[in-house]
């Protein structure tokens, strides 16, 4: 499924307790707090392990999330904008994470830049719902996707480091 390192990281992300989606007016704020707690912990852990790789923030009601993720390849940092909506069926179904700037560059993507997760992700999420949250989505969904796709895109020349791009155009 996933490598040992990811597994260890995931086991360190606290599980969530509140089963509530954005339509549940009474409990959603509590769920949202738990999401932030888990995300903060995950980012802190990543920083401590010298593997900080994403930032996320939401609108006030927590239904739309935006952020950045980055990937270090051959000592160069490649940064991407990421976004997703919380579906009404969350947390029974996971949000569809999109990296719009990579849309059309890889076939491992649906329209609008939504990343195509492996066939293992949906069962994994379903088995752990509602205890998995957005931090788990990052760790088990986006993380492994970037690790596979970005080096490939760089090798194909479809993703070019921003500074190199500038040098090339000068």
């Amino acid at each position: 499924m996933t490598d040992e390192a990811t597994r260890r990281t995931v086991s360190q992300i606290p599980l969530l307790k509140t089963h509530a989606g954005p339509r549940d007016r009474a409990l959603w704020p509590q769920r949202l707090k738990e999401e932030y707690q888990a995300l903060i912990r995950f980012v802190e852990q990543n920083k401590a392990a010298d593997n900080d790789w994403f930032r996320l923030e939401s609108n006030a009601d927590g239904t739309r999330w935006t952020g950045t993720c980055w990937f270090i390849h051959e000592l160069l940092r490649y940064e991407f904008h990421l976004e997703f909506d919380i579906p009404v069926t969350y947390p029974d179904t996971a949000p569809e994470v999109a990296v719009p700037e990579l849309d059309g560059k890889t076939s491992k993507m649906y329209r609008g830049g939504k990343i195509c997760l492996t066939e293992h992700f949906a069962p994994l999420w379903a088995r752990n719902a509602p205890r998995f949250g957005l931090a788990h989505l990052m760790a088990l969904g986006l993380g492994p996707w970037l690790a596979v796709e970005v080096p490939d895109l760089i090798s194909k020349g479809l993703v070019v480091h921003k500074e190199r791009q500038r040098e090339a155009s000068e």
Partner: protein, 399 residues
């Protein structure tokens, strides 16, 4: 280099030209489009678009074909299956169609039916309405170009399902799910469970060689959340299935077949002929069509499903004793080599811990995955916190 003023002028010229083109095209289309027909005629003449449909009455298949004009069907997802579904219903003379899709037509869709290359760039619902209106101007259309799974759209979607009937304010007669992802299916399921709306789910597998339709009557039959997604076993060894570099494959044939069995079931349900299928699978590799019926799960995660089950029980209790019609057919097949490979590339331990019971399903149908009955509380959970949501948001931003 042209000045801004010159460019503005040029834009105005082009806009005027576009308007003229549009007017000309509309005039041509109006001239080509047949006038609306008030009453379906059974007269067999070249000019009657309904003669062959009305012949179903003469042949004793359908009692009252004209009734089709009183029905409203919502098609959610106007892609490979949904567009063909909408076209079939339009040609059959359905009363009203509601179309939902957030996508645009792309050249990559051209391996499927219905859409044409010149429509690339248009929204799918807009392009579909245009074509369908031309085919049959008697049908009413209502289109919504949005993603039903987000908060505000979902509310609107629910409202249109419960009020978007032919007679405004009445619910639609049937919702058809022709979407391509789990989130959207679950969203339709949620809406239909809350509204007690009967719907039909349809799908084609990502490898394009199997598909299914499933009629869901909230409270009576299993809803989409009652069990893990059902799949038609394609009898392909997962290890030989190459997924490198692709998300999904699609074939116009499989999609056409699934749209065909979907609309056939819809017609049988609406016009009351033949046997309506609760679940019909299509395995294209072996040409095998498993069928079954599945009762609602009393422990379903969706509380509205459980509520509908209570109501259904009451309804059944009130009714005079009627034998429950069993549509379940025992499928007998000579070979028995349907390998139930649930998850591959998983360690034995993981598989054991994560495997739940497989529901009792007929040959050829299985679940996409299983969920263990009892989830052990392993790992720590988030702690109680005094911090407010705003504090947490600010803390996250500062990281």
């Amino acid at each position: 280099m042209a000045t801004v003023e010159e460019l503005k002028l040029r834009i105005r010229e082009l806009e005027n030209e576009l308007i003229k083109c549009k007017q000309k095209q509309c005039a041509v289309e109006d001239a080509l489009q047949r006038p609306k027909i008030d009453i379906m005629s059974a007269e067999v003449v070249d000019s009657n678009p309904y003669s062959r449909l009305m012949a179903l009455k003469r042949m004793g298949i359908v009692d009252d074909y004209e009734k089709i004009r009183t029905f409203t069907v919502a098609v959610v997802g106007v892609g490979g299956v949904g567009s063909v579904t909408a076209e079939m219903l339009t040609r059959c003379g359905i009363g009203k169609l509601l179309l939902f899709d957030y996508d645009k037509v792309e050249l990559a869709n051209m391996n499927r039916l219905f859409f044409q290359p010149h429509q690339a760039g248009l929204s799918k619902v807009e392009a579909a309405e245009h074509t369908l209106r031309n085919i049959n101007p008697d049908v009413s259309f209502e289109t919504h170009n949005y993603n039903i799974t987000t908060m505000e759209n979902f509310t609107h979607f629910m409202d249109r399902i419960s009020h978007g009937g032919l007679e405004e304010g009445k619910p639609v007669d049937l919702v058809l799910s022709c979407v391509d992802n789990f989130e959207a299916r679950m969203a339709i399921n949620t809406a239909c469970n809350e509204l007690g709306q009967i719907w039909v789910e349809s799908g084609v597998s990502e490898n394009a060689v199997s598909g299914h339709i499933q009629l869901i009557n909230p409270g009576e039959t299993a809803c989409f959340a009652c069990a893990p997604p059902l799949v038609v076993a394609a009898n392909i060894d997962e290890k030989t299935l190459k997924r490198e570099g692709v998300c999904a494959a699609s074939l116009p044939t499989t999609m056409g077949v699934v749209a065909g069995i979907l609309v056939q079931n819809v017609l049988k349900y609406l016009l009351k002929f033949g046997t309506v299928s609760y679940y019909l699978g299509y395995n294209a590799m072996q040409d095998f069509f498993p069928t079954m019926a599945m009762k609602a799960n009393p422990q379903c995660n969706d509380r509205y499903c459980r509520k509908q089950q209570e109501e259904y029980k009451k309804k059944v209790a009130e009714q005079p004793k009627v034998e429950v019609v069993k549509v379940e057919e025992e499928v007998v097949h000579e070979d028995n080599e349907w390998g139930i490979e649930l998850v591959s590339e998983v360690t034995e331990a993981e598989l054991q811990a994560a495997t739940g019971t497989v529901p009792d399903l007929p040959e050829g149908i299985t679940v996409a995955y299983t969920i263990p009955a009892e989830v052990k509380e392993s790992g720590e959970t988030v702690e109680e916190t005094e911090q407010s949501l705003e504090d947490l948001m600010a803390q996250m931003r500062k990281l």
